[in-house]
Symmetry: C2
Subunit: 133 residues, 2 copies
C-alpha cells in the first residue's frame, strides 16, 4: 500500500551508533554500507531490512544535517517513501493537493531522484519521496 | 536482516492525521485500521505498507502517550522491531549485552507480546520488540 524506503536518523558519529545497532538487531557489521555524500555534507551508514535505517553524520557543520544536529541533537530526522517514476508526477500531485514541497523540481540524491515535503504538511515529520527503481 | 514491525507517531487527534496521510501516500481510507487500547490510554490508527505507520492518540492525559504529547508535542515516538518467539530470548540477550530494558518480562501489547529498550541504550530512540507471529 506504501513503501517506506528508509528512515533518516541523525547521529554525532556513525561508528558507535552502527556498532550499537548491529548488536541491537543482530545485524552483520560487514553488511553495513557506508557512503560519503560531500554535496550534502554528510557521511551515511545504511542497515537494510524491510526498510533501511540510514544514519546520517554531518561532515560539515553548515550542512542541513549539521545545523539539525546543533539545534535539535541526535535522533529521528525524516521518513522517505518510494514513488513511481517519474517522481515529478508525485511532486505535482502533492503540490496540486496543497502540500508544501521544499523545491519545485526533484533533485539527485545519493539513492536516486528525490524531493521533500515540508514537515508542516506532513504532521510534523520531514518527508522525502524517492523515485522507485 | 531485520524487520521493522511498525513506527509509533504521537498525534493530538487521529482523524486529521489519517486523512492527511491517506492523501500523502495514496492510501485507501477504508483500509485504515483503528483500535482502542484502554489499558494503554490510547486510540491507534494503522496504515500498513512494508512496515506499519501507527498513529497514537492519547485518550488519557496521564498515560505514557498523554504525558509524551504534553511534554514533547506531536511527532515521532518509537520504532518496533520483530523478534523470534519466544520474545523472552531477545530480552535476555539484550540484557546480557548491557542494554537497558524497561521491564524484566515482556507484557501483552495490542499486537502481541512486547518489551521496550530505553532510549539511552538505543541511540536516543525508544525501541520496542514484538514477538513475531
Amino acid at each position: 500500500m506504501f513503501r517506506l524506503d528508509h528512515i533518516g536518523v541523525v547521529v554525532e558519529k556513525l561508528e558507535p551508533m552502527v556498532e550499537l545497532y548491529c548488536r541491537l538487531l543482530n545485524y552483520p557489521p560487514d553488511k553495513v554500507e557506508y557512503h560519503d555524500v560531500p554535496s550534502e555534507g554528510v557521511r551515511v551508514a545504511m542497515l537494510k531490512g524491510n526498510t533501511i535505517l540510514e544514519f546520517l553524520q554531518p561532515t560539515d557543520p553548515d550542512s542541513g544535517i549539521g545545523k539539525f544536529l546543533a539545534k535539535r541533537g541526535a535522533g529521528f530526522h525524516h521518513f522517505c517513501y518510494g514513488a513511481d517514476a517519474p517522481v515529478e508526477n508525485k511532486l505535482a500531485e502533492l503540490k496540486a493537493n496543497g502540500f508544501a514541497v521544499l523545491s519545485d523540481e526533484p533533485r539527485q540524491g545519493a539513492e536516486g531522484r528525490v524531493f521533500f515535503v515540508h514537515p508542516k504538511s506532513a504532521g510534523g515529520i520531514l518527508t522525502e519521496f524517492v523515485e522507485n527503481e
